[in-house]
Assembly symmetry: C2
Homo-oligomer: 399 residues x 2
Amino acid sequence: MKLTCSQAALNSNLQCVSRAVATRPTHPVLANVLLTADEGTGKVSLTGFDLSLGIQTTFTAAVEQSGAITLPSRLLGDIVSRLSADSPLSLQSPGTPDSDSASNDDDQGADEQGAGLSFQLTARTGAYTVRGMPAEDFPELPMAQSPVAIPLLAQSLRDGLARTLFATSSDEAKQILTGVHLVVSPSSLEFAATDGHRLAVLTQTNDNSSVQDDGFQVTIPARSLRELEHLLSSRPDETIDLYHDQGQVVFLRADQVVTSRTLDGTYPKYNQLVPETFSRSFTVDRVLMSTALERVAVLADQQNSVVKFSVDVAERQLRIYAEVQDVGRGDESVPLSDGEGGNIDVAFNVRYLLDGLKALPTPEVKFQMNNPTNPVVLRPHGGDVAFTYLVMPVQIRNS
Amino acid sequence: MKLTCSQAALNSNLQCVSRAVATRPTHPVLANVLLTADEGTGKVSLTGFDLSLGIQTTFTAAVEQSGAITLPSRLLGDIVSRLSADSPLSLQSPGTPDSDSASNDDDQGADEQGAGLSFQLTARTGAYTVRGMPAEDFPELPMAQSPVAIPLLAQSLRDGLARTLFATSSDEAKQILTGVHLVVSPSSLEFAATDGHRLAVLTQTNDNSSVQDDGFQVTIPARSLRELEHLLSSRPDETIDLYHDQGQVVFLRADQVVTSRTLDGTYPKYNQLVPETFSRSFTVDRVLMSTALERVAVLADQQNSVVKFSVDVAERQLRIYAEVQDVGRGDESVPLSDGEGGNIDVAFNVRYLLDGLKALPTPEVKFQMNNPTNPVVLRPHGGDVAFTYLVMPVQIRNS
């Protein structure tokens, strides 16, 4: 392999694929990225793959000779990121006549005889040799075989992830709950996540007319989606193509592929959890409510993060308070902009409420509930985003 | 105690003194800050003290009734920092007729009967009760008895700390080396720090005519000085008064006092370590040198952080390289703007070099040395800052 590229291109693409490289690889080659160069197309491709999440990017370079090698992701990334942005880089690996190598030291020959492959990177001020491993040792990136692409607006995808990812479970034992559930129907796209204590559901209209029959459902690991979300941040107005096949999803954009295994198992029928009718409701300002909760949380977090609500519909007032024995007590008042049904006392884990309020898109939030032991639903007040956040109250002992 | 103050004043003063509150206090009251209010002067004072470092600040407030109490630093700081900046705060603690308290809950009476003291903080939207401890339990902040103040420009003090603090030892077993050594003479001020591997010395001219006899020397713990450095960042043009007494130093500014114990023991005679003559020297661009070292450090840090220098005086070139078995090799070239004496090969711990280069104030740096096993000195090239950074080379095995 022999090629010349810009520091900027190599650096940004390395940073990108390194996000799919395992921090604790189960096999040495999984700490590496796969670098391939094609003389015919003038394309260089980089791949990171932890056997669950894979990221592949492609960029153009002056490729003199095709080739492929795997290289230590962290080490190469650390060197390249510190090179001057205006320095062209020349990359070379064995199989190429070593004519104008910058490094002439003695053990160069020994390196090429040895277990590893010696890869050379030459910049204006210096030259680096890094030990690689053969491209053949790198596992093949699984690509979905389905020919049906679901086109998704990057902005919709980001929005769906931002409003649900936080509600997934971080407990690996909870298997299917560690992912976001995606429901693709011919005319809509639904994102859902729950950890058993709260549920976030966002429904978008989307023209998925290419989807077959009634569509499909799939649960994708949160870790894969977090990396996807990160990659999406740069270009919100583009379209991403989603492919789905047995045990695998692929997100495809112009020069990047994100591939992920899916989670096995049956996702809970979450729609059954959301009550259809509510006897009580009230509306509050989202920011006023969040800041009041954050202050009371300082006390609540000293013990079990429980805050109590006392809703006074007639007075149009919500009292939020927490008390911790031997530490102290906090009391806040938030005005209600409307309220229906009787007064109610109910308690919550303040962290679940704060997470939900952050994900709600409107300045005002509608709380809907029946009684202190049944699920409470938070919805945007006004606007046209179909978002539901359900949270289970905490049982109050003495109220 | 009863007073009203702004959120901004209470918040900034709490954040300030909290830096002297121990993270793992040896006694419960040391997790608290001392709050005292004086009706006569209209002054509120806050104190944090971990028995080594103490910080006391004073601000004006509408004090209705004098009093003193200690309050949990972290908890109070977390609440106050989350309160709205435009909300006036009213603070009240027992010993005050509880006439217009915002909190009317039932166990209020029980609190005041209990072990702790109940302190109330009332803002526009809410009210907080925090359990405090008696002011009498708080250790007295030691103040130096010496009447002689050494006036120091805050900017000089910051400069002295920035160029030496990093070279102190972080190994508590090294006792005296965990501090910065301050030498105050009638006309100068010297800062020195060493961890046994490198030494940083900055000498400033300073009118200390108030100092008695030949002046004094004192070693102050790095932890205290780091907090002092942090506090100094806001107002570089003011004057700080330094007082020194048996085992104690006090830094005094208009509304803040920083007090610290000093370190016992005899500080090494560091001036004896700096060679008086050098057979070799060269000058390099500081930024070019630092960036080249940072890149080679990526490889060097894989093993023992050793980088090798190969100085070619005739070619006006410095080669910097590191090689790690089974990982790779990095080679950089840095041009020399001048050079004297013969060529030399010498090795360093790259971290010590990078630290020193960061502390040097000029665009160009002069390296001075004799042979590969003797101390190497880095000095600013040009400019009028009297700064010396000495670093011990690493023994090279095969070069």
